[in-house]
């Protein structure tokens, strides 16, 4: 296998690992946040407006860690800087 193929293999495997492992933490966190919000709404239905608003903001902030992983994996697949580098070096 030449250098370009190695870069492609490494990028694809790493992209899969990145999004796979990176989604675990946010998924657990969002589950905890949602269950706490549901319990809070069940206890205090009057405050459900405030709780829902806070829940949405915190869900989006928790989700952003998964989004960072997604961005990294997208860069690895579609805009990998090392592909050009290897091609220029005559590895392809």
């Amino acid at each position: 296998m030449d250098a370009t193929t190695w870069v492609a293999v490494a990028s694809i495997v790493t992209a899969g690992l990145t999004i796979g492992i990176g989604a675990i933490g946010p998924a657990l966190g969002e589950g905890r946040a949602a269950s706490s919000a549901l319990m809070a709404i069940a206890q205090q239905p009057d405050e459900s407006n405030t709780i829902t608003r806070t829940l949405f903001v915190s869900l989006a902030m928790i989700e952003s860690t998964a989004i960072y992983c997604f961005v990294v994996s997208m860069i690895l697949i579609f805009a990998n800087p090392f592909t050009d580098l290897v091609t220029q070096a005559g590895g392809g």
């Binding site: 903001v57 989004i67 960072y68 579609f78």
Partner: protein
């Protein structure tokens, strides 16, 4: 497949390129500016108001309430910046329902520019409220040793602001692109609907976070500081 609207070039002349991000940004700006100009051209304060004026009043008073909820006493001062951020991002994301439109917020350049606006606005508001020394004292807040961490926090939260919006909008576009090739016609529409929801929530979050950063910089902290009494007295005077 392009992951950014920057690579979609409409027109180029020499080194100048007019890519889709700029064109769609101008379109959103024109829509917002012309729309609000047309509505505010004939405002009335009688009991009978036009439906568009009603819409604008609901939006503006809603944003004012949200700013007050986050912790600013006088929303009027922050309304231009925060309201513009929210309206621009919301309209840019919601225009996704028009075929052929790519949200300009799906480009890292746009979101970085918006995040830089917040990065600059925070010290400006804080200095206007508390003076240069009052603002700079924020950086050595618990102890002097926290100075590097405060500076790093300032930079990293700006990057997070930019990448969060970019990643959310871009992921919607990319997932729709992938689904079109895998399961065309039905699933992409559902993901587009989800994209509308995400886009509106992200606009709200961007504006709220900007407001939270500004509020935390302008607010006088109740820390163990000698000048605490002076600052509190100063604020009490301002409030009167």
């Amino acid at each position: 497949m392009d992951i950014s609207t920057d690579q979609w070039v409409f027109w180029s002349y020499g080194p100048f390129e007019l890519n889709a991000t700029i064109v769609f940004t101008w379109a959103v700006m024109a829509l917002l500016a012309l729309g609000s100009w047309a509505v505010t051209a004939n405002l009335s304060d009688s009991e009978e108001i036009s439906r568009w004026q009603n819409l604008l009043e609901v939006i503006v008073s809603g944003i004012r309430d949200q700013i007050r909820d986050v912790g600013a006493e006088e929303p009027g001062r922050y309304l231009p910046l925060v309201g513009t951020l929210f309206l621009y991002i919301a309209v840019a994301n919601l225009l996704l329902i028009i075929p052929g439109y790519d949200p300009p917020t799906g480009s890292l350049s746009t979101t970085t520019a918006l995040a830089l606006c917040v990065l600059i606005a925070v010290p400006l508001f804080a200095i206007r409220q508390r003076g240069v020394t009052g603002y700079l004292r924020n950086y050595i807040r618990p102890t002097v040793f926290m100075l590097p961490f405060n500076v790093i926090g300032e930079i990293s939260r700006t990057i997070a602001l930019a990448v969060r919006l970019y990643g959310n909008v871009m992921s919607g576009t990319v997932i729709v692109g992938i689904l079109i090739s895998v399961a065309p016609f039905f699933f992409p529409i559902i993901m587009q609907l989800l994209g509308l929801l995400t886009g509106l929530i992200q606009a709200y979050i961007f504006a709220v976070l900007a407001m939270v950063y500004i509020a935390s910089a302008t607010r006088t902290h109740a820390g163990g500081d000698d000048n605490r009494g002076d600052e509190a007295a100063e604020n009490a005077n301002k409030g009167e």
